[in-house]
Symmetry: C2
Subunit: 195 residues, 2 copies
């Protein structure tokens, strides 16, 4: 899907808030994650490997959320039923996020959009982008907990194109680091001065 | 080391605060992590595999912290120099934490001690246990970021006793889930009502 046709995908939009996370904060987080140029190379490899598989990745993640009542409620309306259009719109952006993790340089535009994504999980901005009436915030603990499923489930897709074990391991390690990096940034609004 | 000889290791102490995390919160977090009885079985296997290796695990983790100025500062005094006795006392508890992750049932005493550990990373209680004058708090982002090194570095130790790939994978997956679970709990004081 061309990114301009994804509703609410506002990467690079001029009215985004500037991220409160500085480029220096980001650099220190990357060092904490032992990020290297090899990880960037492996993410580019992952981009090619995942090309054509992102829908299946999303199928798996959505099945996981749908099968857990305590998670699907963050997509539910006042009647407790999941809002189909909300699920669908978020899904398209989530798929684009997978592509962006693998391909986007981590520059100021990227930092600013991570902050926008962060806010969209909190009472500051959740529901607004999609014009829905759902629960106001995803609790911090689930943002952190998602690191496990979003990392662990990716391995089979990274291995699905016949790469050797060293490449699969390299891509999976880079993906793991990238997921943790994103979640670190997405935690910022929950803790502000203590972030 | 017998646990009663580890300074500040207060598991089960009667004056610990009760965790604000309910057993139901914990159960839902475990479901979010797709926790199964197999994971508990693999953690018990990991306990045996890690027996006699915990010091080497800590050597690796301490080398990692020591080689990153922006991390070792959380062990530093007002003069910016790491406080040797603080590093040493935390190390003994950190080693015991590895053993506890693998062996302790996740009951109320366990929940309460996780909350105590959480507080000891924050301005509520950092430095106090060890009577040191260091920076008042570890920022939330580093608590989350540590999920990567604490998980990734463990694999070699889990593989060091000749287990087959399926067992090593199983132990490593269970360890990954356990690390994420602990960090989820340790995030609570940073976000309180938004946790």
């Amino acid at each position: 899907m061309a990114t301009e046709t994804i509703p609410g995908y506002d990467f690079g939009a001029p009215d985004l808030q500037r991220s409160p996370v500085s480029p220096e904060d980001l650099r220190l987080l990357e060092r904490t994650l032992l990020w290297s140029e090899e990880d960037d190379r492996y993410l580019r490899m992952a981009a090619e490997v995942l090309d054509g598989q992102v829908d299946q990745v999303l199928d798996l993640w959505y099945d996981y959320v749908a099968s857990h009542e305590h998670l699907v409620r963050y997509f539910a309306g006042p009647d407790g039923q999941p809002i189909g259009s909300y699920l669908e719109r978020v899904r398209a952006r989530f798929a684009q996020w997978v592509r962006d993790v693998c391909r986007r340089p981590r520059d100021q535009a990227w930092l600013d959009y991570q902050h926008e994504i962060a806010l969209r999980h909190t009472s500051a901005k959740k529901n607004r982008t999609d014009g829905v009436e759902s629960v106001p915030e995803v609790p911090l603990r689930y943002m952190v907990a998602f690191i496990f499923p979003i990392t662990a489930t990716m391995r089979r897709f990274l291995a699905a194109r016949g790469h050797g074990q060293a490449d699969v391991d390299g891509m999976h390690t880079a993906w793991f680091k990238a997921v943790v990096l994103h979640v670190c940034l997405w935690c910022q609004p929950y803790a502000a001065g203590r972030w």
